[in-house]
Subunit: 655 residues, 2 copies
Amino acid sequence: MSLNTNRVGNHPGSGHDPSQSTTISIPFSPETMHEVCRPPAKTTFQKLRHKLSEVFFPDDPLHRFKNQTCANKIMFALRFVFPIFEWAHSYNFGLFRSDVVAGLTIASLAIPQGISYAKLANLPPVIGLYSSFVPPMIYAVLGSSKHLAVGPVSIASLVMGTMLNDAVSYSSDPVLYLKLAFTATFFAGLFQASLGFLRLGFIIDFLSKATLVGFMAGAAVIVSLQQLKGLLGIVNFTSKMQIIPVLSSAIEQSDEWSWPTIVMGFGFLACLLTTRQIGLRKPKLFWVSAAAPLASVILSTFLVALFISKLPNIATIGQLHKGLNPPSSNTLYFHGEFLAVAVKTGAVTGLLSLTEGIAVGRTFAALKNYQVDGNKEMIAIGLMNMAGSCSSCYVTTGSFSRSAVNENAGGQTAMSNIIMALTVLVTLLFLMPLFKYTPDLILAAIIVTAVIGLIDYQSAFGLWKVDKLDFLACLSSFFGVLFVSVPVGLTIAVGVSIFKILLHVTRPNTSVLGCIPGTQIFQDLVRYRDAHRVPSFVILGVEAPIYFANCTYLQERIFRWLREEEDWNAANNGSLLKCVIIDMTAVTAIDTSGLAMVNELRTMLEKRSLQLVLVNPTGSVMEKLHQSNNLASFGPNGLYLSVGEAVADISSSWK
Amino acid sequence: MSLNTNRVGNHPGSGHDPSQSTTISIPFSPETMHEVCRPPAKTTFQKLRHKLSEVFFPDDPLHRFKNQTCANKIMFALRFVFPIFEWAHSYNFGLFRSDVVAGLTIASLAIPQGISYAKLANLPPVIGLYSSFVPPMIYAVLGSSKHLAVGPVSIASLVMGTMLNDAVSYSSDPVLYLKLAFTATFFAGLFQASLGFLRLGFIIDFLSKATLVGFMAGAAVIVSLQQLKGLLGIVNFTSKMQIIPVLSSAIEQSDEWSWPTIVMGFGFLACLLTTRQIGLRKPKLFWVSAAAPLASVILSTFLVALFISKLPNIATIGQLHKGLNPPSSNTLYFHGEFLAVAVKTGAVTGLLSLTEGIAVGRTFAALKNYQVDGNKEMIAIGLMNMAGSCSSCYVTTGSFSRSAVNENAGGQTAMSNIIMALTVLVTLLFLMPLFKYTPDLILAAIIVTAVIGLIDYQSAFGLWKVDKLDFLACLSSFFGVLFVSVPVGLTIAVGVSIFKILLHVTRPNTSVLGCIPGTQIFQDLVRYRDAHRVPSFVILGVEAPIYFANCTYLQERIFRWLREEEDWNAANNGSLLKCVIIDMTAVTAIDTSGLAMVNELRTMLEKRSLQLVLVNPTGSVMEKLHQSNNLASFGPNGLYLSVGEAVADISSSWK
C-alpha cells in the first residue's frame, strides 16, 4: 500500500518548506499482520520467585553444579567456598617465582604505607603492620581475585580516624580508642560479610563512579592538608577534618613550624612525587615508584639517627616492640554509650572499603579477562576484617596502588599476598627496633604521595563533558567531604544520584515519530530529517515506564503534542487528525496509576473523536494491561505489533 | 537474503524439538541500509533550557499568547490570572439557575460537615462555618475547576487536629491552639501557592494513588473510631490517634457510656448510612444522601430541645455567637517554640489537602472533558488558604463528597461556590442560635458516614491483582497511619514507591530476541513462540536506562545470557557465536558508569572473539556515546538502525 506523507517541519520556524510532500510506500500486506503476545502465564508465586532470583541471584551462582556427579559437586562446593582450591592444585614453581617477586615488592610498599595509614587513623604504627599480616593470609584462602593486594588503605583509615576522633581522642584515652577501633572493624566486617551472604551487594553500586571521584578527591585534599602537621613539624594540630579548621590551624600554629622538618619533609616529598611521575610515565620503571617509599624510610631513618643530637625537634616514631599480633577479641565492645559510634563508623568504613576493594578487584579482573564474584568477594573481605578485629588489626581492603604494583611486578595468584604477609611477619618479629628513628615527616610525605593520585581531575572533566548531573553528584560529594563531613558528603552525593534516576522517570523523553521512506522504520522527526509524518496520524514515542511519578506529566505532554500537531496540520495541509498511535517499545513498565492514565487518555481522546492505538507493549506492560481489563476496552483495532502494521491496517479500514 | 534460523527452545526442558530448523527470509537489500542519526547539535545552555522547560513548563502555559494582538494578550493574561473571566462574560440565567440549585444543595451539606470537621480538628464549630465562607469566594475567582466545592475536609482536619494536639491541647490553652491553627493554615497556603508559583506541582505526584488509597482507609478507620467519643457519650477520651490507645480508651471508659446517646447516635448513623447507600445505588436519588445530614441535624436538634430536661447526659454544641468571620491576621505566630510545629503541620496538611483538591479537580475535569491547570489550581488553593488564615478559617480544599454532589445537582460554574458561601453567610448572621441544642452525636455520625466512603477496598483489591508493589505501598501507608502516625505512614509509603522505581532501574528486564519469520521484527523468544534464533548471533534486548545502579548487573546478566546461549548452541547445533547485538531501543538513557560498562563489555567480548553491535540507540544515548568517544571505538560495523539491518549486513560480511 502507499501513503501520502508530509515532510517534517521540525521546530516551528526551522525553515522547512511545509508544502513539500512525497508519496512513499510502506511495504505491507494484510497476511503479514502479527498478534501481540502476552508472556507465558505464571502464578504469583512463580513471578515472585523469578523476581527474587533476578534481584538476588542474577549471576545464577549454582549453574556449575547442574548435571554434575556427586564428587564433582563436592569439589565445586569446596572451590566455591575456598577459591584457593581453584589454583592450588595446578600451582607450580614458575608461578611461585613470579609471586615471590611480586610479594616482596608489595611488602616493601606495604610496610611504610601500613605505618603511615595507621597514623592517619590515629592508631599506633604497629597496628598498621599487624593489619598487613593477618587479613592478607585470610584473603588468600577466601578471595577470588588474583591481583588484589590486601591491607590498610588511606580512605578507610582517614574515615575511621575522623569518626572515632569525634567521640574520643586517642591521646586522652588510648585504651578506649583502641577498643572502639577494633569494634568498628568487627562491625565493618560483619556488615560486609552480611551484604555478601544476603546477596545485597548491589547496594554498593549506589556509590556511583561519579560520586567516588568527587569523594576521593575531597578526601585526598583533606588528608594532604592534615599531613601539614608532620611536614611542618606542628605539635598541637587540630583534630577536625574540615578544610577551614585544618588550614587555619596550620597557619595559626606557625610559631611551632620546625625548619629542619620542613626542609627534609618537602625534600622527600619532592623525591617521592618525582618517582611517582616516573612510574606513571614509563610503566616499565614502575619499580622505581614501588621501591621509593621503603628507600625513603630507610634513608630518612639513617639521616635522623646520625644527626639526632643536632636535630632534636624532628618527631620520630619512637620505640616499637617486637612480636606478633596480640589477640584483641577480648577488647571488643558490645554495650555502653560508644557502641553507636563504633557501629556507625564500622558501617561507613565497611561500605567505603568494600566499594574500593570490589572496584579494584573488578578492574584487574577485566584487565586480565577473568571474573570476580562480587558477593563472594564481600564475604571474603568481611570475614578477613572480622578475623582482623580479633587479632589487633583495623579495617583492611584491597588497595588500588599496591594491587597495581602487584600486577605490574608479575603477581599471578593470591600467593603474592601470602609472601607479603610473611615478609611483614619477619619485620614484626625482628626488624621493629629499626623504626625507632623513622621521622613522622616521611610518613606524611608517603601519605601525600599516595593520596594525591586519588585526585582524578581528568575523570571529573570527562563527567562534565558527558553528563552534567553526574558532574553535579561528583561536585557535591567533593564539597560535602571538604566542608562538612564524610557521611554528609556521601549522603548528598547518593541523594543526587537517586534524584537523577527519579528525574529521568518523572520527566521522560517523548517524541513525534515519522516514517523513513521505503521502510517500516518509524523514528523521531527531529532526529531523522528524512522521516515523514503520516497524514491523519500522530505517532508518539514514550521513553520511560509509565508510573505514578510521570503519568500526569505524560498526559499533559501528549495533549500538548496533539495541539502542536493540529496546529502544524492546520498551517500546512488542513488534514484532520484521526488516530493517535503510542509506540510503547520503550515503556518498560506500568503501574496502576499508569494504567488509569492510559484508560483516561483513551476516554478523553474518544470524546474528541480520536482513536488511541498502542503498539508493541513490552511483556510486563502487556500483562498488566490484560490484568486490569484495559486491553478489552481497546478492542481489536487498538493493539498492534509494529507501527507500520498499525498505520497500514487502520488507514485501510478508513477506505 | 535468506538465513537459516533455529526454532526457539524457550526454557531448558520446555519440551521443544531443538532439531526443528527452518529457512526464513529477512527482507533486506543493501541500498536500504540506514544510518543512525545523532540529535541536532545543541549548546549546553540550549540543552539546559530545554531540560528546564520540560521539567517546569511541560504544558507550555504561554502557548495561547503566541501570535496574538496586544489587546488579546491582555485579555488572555486577565483570564490566565483570574479564571472567573473565562466564563463570566458568557454567563446567563440558565446557568445561574443550575448553579443556585447546586449551591443550595452543597450548602445543606457544607454546614453540618463544616461544624463536624472543625470538631475533628479540635476547633470550635464556628470555625468550620467561617472556613466555608471566605475560601469558596476566593476560589470562585481564582480557581479553574467548574465543579470543585471548596471547604474543610476530613483528612486535613484530622491531620491538623492530631499534629497540633501533640504540641498543645485546645482544652488547656485555647488561645495558643487557635493561633497555631491559623498559623499552620497560613503556612499550608504559602506552601501550596509556592509549589504552584515555582511549578513544582509534580511533587504531589509522588503521593501515588496506591499510597492515597491506603492512607485514606487508615485515616478513615482512625477517624471513625475516634467518633466513638461522640457516639458512646464518653467525656474523658484519649487524644492519641493510634488505633490501640483509641480502642482501649473506648473500652476502659465504659463506665462513662451514656445509653440514650448510644441509642440516638447509632440510630442516626444507621439512617445516614442507609441514605448514603441509596445515593450510591441510584444516582438519581443523590439528593436523599445530600439532604440527609442537614435533615438529621434539624431532627436531632429538635429531639434534644424537646427532651433536654429528661436527657441531661447528651452533649450538645451549646451557644454559638452570631456574626461574620473576625479578622485573625494579628494572631499569626511567626516566632517562638511552637513555630516549628505550625510549619510542619502546615506542610503536611497543605500537601495532603492539595493532593485531594487537585485529584478531585482533575477527576471532574476528565469526566466533563475540560482541563484544569495543576499549577494554577495550587496557586488558587494556596491563596485562598492564606486569605483564610487571616479571616479565622483553617485549612480548606476541594472536597470529594461535596464536589460530587455539586456535579450531580447540576453545578455548571464556580458560581455554585459563591451561592454556597452566601448561604453560609446567612447562617452565620442569623441562624447560629438554632445550633444550641444540636447534639455532638449527630456530628460524630455525619463524620463516620463521610469517612466510611474513603475505605476503597475495591481499589485495594485491584492493586493486589495488578501490581503487588503498589499494593505494598498501599498497605504500608494504611498500617503506618493506623499504628504509628500520619507523617510516618506517608513517609514509608512514599519510600516504598520510590524503592519501586529504583528496583525497576536496578534490576531491569533483559531478553534474548529472535526473528519473526517473514519480517524484520525481532521479539522476545520466550514471549513469541514463533520467533527464531539467528545462528551465530545473540540478540539481547535491554529494557532500562543503563545507569550506575544497574551497570554491574547488566554486565553480569549479559554474560549469563551468553553462557546460556553457548550451552544451547552446543546442545543443539554446535554452531559458534560470533556476534552479540544489543537492541538499545528501550535504553532510554545512559550515564558515565553505563558508558564505561559498554566500553568494558566491548573489550571483554573482543578478547573472546565476539563482536559487539549496538542497534537503534535513542537520541540522548547516541549523543553520550559520541561525546565519550565510545562510538569511534565501535567502528563502522558497530552501529545499526534496526536489528534486521545489523543481522543482514554482518552476516553478509562473513561470506
